[in-house]
Subunit: 400 residues, 4 copies
Amino acid sequence: MQKTSVKIFYLTDANLPFKNTTFWVDAIFGTGLNKAVEKNIADLIHQVNSTRTPVISIDLPSGLFADKHTPTNVAVIHASTTLTFQRLKRSMLYAENAHRIGEVKVLDIGLDEHYMESLPTTQELVDRSLINKILKPRKRFSHKGNFGHALLIGGSYGKAGAIILSAKACVKSGAGLTTVHTVKTTGATLQSAIPEAMLSTCEGDKVCDLPDLAPYNAIAAGPGLGINEQTSSMLKLLLQKAKKTLVLDADALNIISQNKNLIDNLPENTILTPHKKEFERLFGTFENDFQRNDFQIAASVKHKIIIVLKGAYTSISTPEGKCFFNTTGNAGLAKGGSGDTLTGIITALLAQGLNATDAAIAAVYIHGLAADCAVKKIHPYSLTASDVTEFLSEAFIQTV
Amino acid sequence: MQKTSVKIFYLTDANLPFKNTTFWVDAIFGTGLNKAVEKNIADLIHQVNSTRTPVISIDLPSGLFADKHTPTNVAVIHASTTLTFQRLKRSMLYAENAHRIGEVKVLDIGLDEHYMESLPTTQELVDRSLINKILKPRKRFSHKGNFGHALLIGGSYGKAGAIILSAKACVKSGAGLTTVHTVKTTGATLQSAIPEAMLSTCEGDKVCDLPDLAPYNAIAAGPGLGINEQTSSMLKLLLQKAKKTLVLDADALNIISQNKNLIDNLPENTILTPHKKEFERLFGTFENDFQRNDFQIAASVKHKIIIVLKGAYTSISTPEGKCFFNTTGNAGLAKGGSGDTLTGIITALLAQGLNATDAAIAAVYIHGLAADCAVKKIHPYSLTASDVTEFLSEAFIQTV
Amino acid sequence: MQKTSVKIFYLTDANLPFKNTTFWVDAIFGTGLNKAVEKNIADLIHQVNSTRTPVISIDLPSGLFADKHTPTNVAVIHASTTLTFQRLKRSMLYAENAHRIGEVKVLDIGLDEHYMESLPTTQELVDRSLINKILKPRKRFSHKGNFGHALLIGGSYGKAGAIILSAKACVKSGAGLTTVHTVKTTGATLQSAIPEAMLSTCEGDKVCDLPDLAPYNAIAAGPGLGINEQTSSMLKLLLQKAKKTLVLDADALNIISQNKNLIDNLPENTILTPHKKEFERLFGTFENDFQRNDFQIAASVKHKIIIVLKGAYTSISTPEGKCFFNTTGNAGLAKGGSGDTLTGIITALLAQGLNATDAAIAAVYIHGLAADCAVKKIHPYSLTASDVTEFLSEAFIQTV
Amino acid sequence: MQKTSVKIFYLTDANLPFKNTTFWVDAIFGTGLNKAVEKNIADLIHQVNSTRTPVISIDLPSGLFADKHTPTNVAVIHASTTLTFQRLKRSMLYAENAHRIGEVKVLDIGLDEHYMESLPTTQELVDRSLINKILKPRKRFSHKGNFGHALLIGGSYGKAGAIILSAKACVKSGAGLTTVHTVKTTGATLQSAIPEAMLSTCEGDKVCDLPDLAPYNAIAAGPGLGINEQTSSMLKLLLQKAKKTLVLDADALNIISQNKNLIDNLPENTILTPHKKEFERLFGTFENDFQRNDFQIAASVKHKIIIVLKGAYTSISTPEGKCFFNTTGNAGLAKGGSGDTLTGIITALLAQGLNATDAAIAAVYIHGLAADCAVKKIHPYSLTASDVTEFLSEAFIQTV
């Protein structure tokens, strides 16, 4: 490692996470070249990593490619902390680099934001100013009819919890009316948990039929739906009949995974919200996170759908080939129920008249922001999806 | 626009909603003449509107009639904000003018309130001092018998949420005892949600019979009632047998809409609480909001009933031909469940011995005030009917 | 009214409830003679009352008897406020005098409390120091077995709410274990509402049998019990078999009212908790509150039971012929559910080993104090039994 | 009592619990010799105890053995308060000495903590620094799969409360997913109470079968399980088939007590969580607390299991023959439901990948700490298991 390109020295800085500890500073600028470092630098990198001493990387960990997949055999500093400039780099958004970038802090070094925003890009970080343009304050003379009617389909027998979480989030995200189509046992539980939601029930243990879809402005299916034959048939019918924007989550995605031809029959602007495993069940496995993300965007364009790939930086790909990366949220969301809540929020925003892309982007941001507000009071270990729902109000206060 | 009657200048005032923005001030006094402006003024108005620059109107937007319907072909400034004096004008109370008046602020210019209140009027804005006269503090030696027994009828199978919301609001608005007459499945859900409410159940899936009405001081029917034949029969029987003041809401109104002759059989001082659509199903459509309001008052007089027409400025018309306009509430109430909550409050106040007009006026005010208190903590997007019920206490603290 | 015995003048005192208002001060000392005032004083009293001007009475309203019933034909000042000295007088504790004493404030005039407490009396006001002697802090090495096992019997079909309220209050008043014996439908509702309570169920719609009573340290019956034949039989069996202190409330009292001979078979130290109407159904009507209270004490002595006669100043009479008057509580308690909550508290304290008298006194005080704490935050109109239960903790903090 | 070894004098110190009271100071140093005091000292001790005057003991109450059982016929001061140095002594950890040591306060006299911790010991007090090493913060790129899937088995008909409490605690202690295997009636109640938990149901009234165990990272059985033949068979099957760490509590322990041979078939590192009575049903009665604790450790070694013996200082014995004593918790936990909550926390920590010993130690500490946080706001009389669960977040904030 040359003296000019690498500055290594010791610090003892109480403000950083390594109190009273010796650590490395890794400051090879210019690693964003997306190619492997030279042999002598690689050796030095392996040597530093082998010391297991904390490393603070400046800009990017040395060796890491900025915009594309870094193969595992390429030498990359394993930073404890990365101090990057102005914006997150694309390679910091993927889990595959989590062990290389450590905790990331973005430093404002005064670059011209207007200039940066004017650059043509198909990839965008979602921030508060974007959400603020999407979500509008409510007006005095508005009535419940102005905020639409959301329909949530799910909660087969024994799976009431998921649809309850969706319904709570939908009601607390501004839908004028929220109706849940579910089985009777779930209906009873639901009305106790969230009396503001209305009920449409079907016979039997599975959600096996559809109500008249005409009154609804947005329709979601999936939470606690189950994946048996009857619900599959119901879902197929829904895909045929729905004229309003659909949100498909959880078991709705699993049914599609088992009936791949359905992907080609999704109504335009349908929103799919898979986590990584559900995405792979739908679209196959991928060699790395970059490849998966590229495929996600291609799939959105091909099928004219919005795909919300849930994770640390949830990516939202659009039929126009754009991809938005969410910047809110925390590890307290890594728990059962988070996805159900997100589905409720998206559906509520759709019902209120947002277009599918805007609804998906804003819902993902608000969901993460609510969790960020929540963890100021509730430890991530203890955070529940219901807690996140309770903090939706705070998130709307900060953005609308 | 003449120099003497119109003053136009530019301001940049950080305290107004148009920070760092150029806007118009529209100050044609005397437009309250209820007739269309002259051609040259009309042209100027169209020109101003076409600039899409924000306009602040003083007193009333130029061109707007103060006390009667302004036809759509009349030229009217589309104000962003209207600064009016001392009192809201009648034309500001109707949704049809929402896009013309923008956000309204009432300025106190020191007119003599006593004089203004002494003027004979059949139309009155409801304010805190009026409510303060209606609602009395509770006395130490009072017992639950002093605060009456409210009966709420509703919640057919699958519609438990609505009657739960009514029951919670009734219990939290001071009724000595609250009983809900409903179907068995709803009963189970209800007792978990609000154990303070007592239960009277009927067989089957619909609320199809009546309990002995003798013990009750006030009776409401409608939330989650359903509109099938059995419930219709039950409602007809209720109208015949009830000797206490009735509150009819939601499906009770829908049943009456389908059996118009029932309107003539309503017991004296029955309170109907339709929103605009329910009102139209009951009484037909109207050319404009003024006409609808006039008809509302006429219907109250004719049928000797109180009509609570729910909206931004809920209007309460009485058998004496008076009409009260509520001044509390906000767009957070524009959601399913708000009406059920209001029904519970009215019934609780009736049970406590208020006359029907006072109960309706005070309940509407308290309901809106609770929502106003709530939105100081909870964003209107996230506000639920249950939240409003939680803030009833705060509303009573401010008024009783 | 003679100048020496009556001082009348005008005040305008912002600290009193009659701001900027002229009012009378009524200061006839020595009216505590328990006999009617003379004719000329009586005339003056009628004259004052007829003015409808507020009156502040010092010590006692002129004409009111201090320690016995004042007949309605005796002239008594109708005070708005009574400023009394050091202690409430007996006549202030009864509802029959509510319209005569108005709002009562007790002024400390420095009398020797030790001397007053040393006076022999069978009637005692319950205050914090008395409760502080009864309730003990919990010790570190204690385990749930140290705090006893409470059994609550009630909640027949459709009456789940009452027993839920009792169970919540019992769990939150320190019982080591709480078991509810009820019907199956109620059981399901109960476990959702208060999972800390255990369940013992019986078949059918009515609570018609008894569990093995051996494990329980205290047993209550009544809330939501119903009064049909089956529950009557169950109650009779309970009276025969119970070896632990019983608390009988609500429908248990109504069953006894219908089977008066049961009164003679009550186990020693059974606690009955009637409100005024239930008391009358048990023991007949009375000419006035003094007579009722005297009878209450006599009945306690005769049947060797504790009677808790609920009202503004709940009176607790004991087998020894003493009577305690509670001083906590407010009109927010005048609502369905208050009694159920009280039953839960008494049973919890009994289970923890208090004797019946102490448990009754302390529970009534704590119940009222919790309500007093609650109305600092929640308006009496909106206060619910569940709210009171939430404030039990605060009441224990102030007394234990 | 010799002048040199015993210092007795009178104090009146407002800062101690005996305001304005004369009390003894008992300062015989060196009683930690684990043998009975001499006759003349014993006489003096009896004399002091007979005065019933409060006694403050320094170090240990005179006569009390420090590290072994003190027979009841040995003279020991009954201290009101014991001021001990640096660490709790073993004899202070057992309930059998509760009446001898009174309230214990540990004084820091500056002994070298590093030296003390370096001493070889098989008995250790659990403190915050130990827990801080066990529990790790969550990382940004983690997802629900990283935090494991917990399975809770229990809640037969009529016993829903127990498993609800476990499930709530499990969800709020960081498990990625929580599934409850229970009967259908309990399932319905559970999903209303904690929608984040998933459901696996079996037919009938008892939990009589097992789901596929493959997806689960940790499994608990016991809360509300019941002890009939069917659940016994289920439990035996579980012991055979479980490949993940098991937590056995409540009725699971009772079933084992009735089938003692099962103790020999427990999978390695199974965690048993008996309270004293359950321990005795499992392992027989003991002459004293020391003997019980010694047996507990021996049983852990013999059966290669972790035993959590619940009480004031819960002891956690390990297969390696170590014993950890918990230092958090208070008498507010002495109530039904506490154990169910603890079971949920242990299972959540196991699911997240902790080894059995660490999970047991950390869960017991966190559970007690949550209760300690809770009693700063909620009186121990009113504290419920649900309250403790609400304070789990606060406990994690203080330790992770």
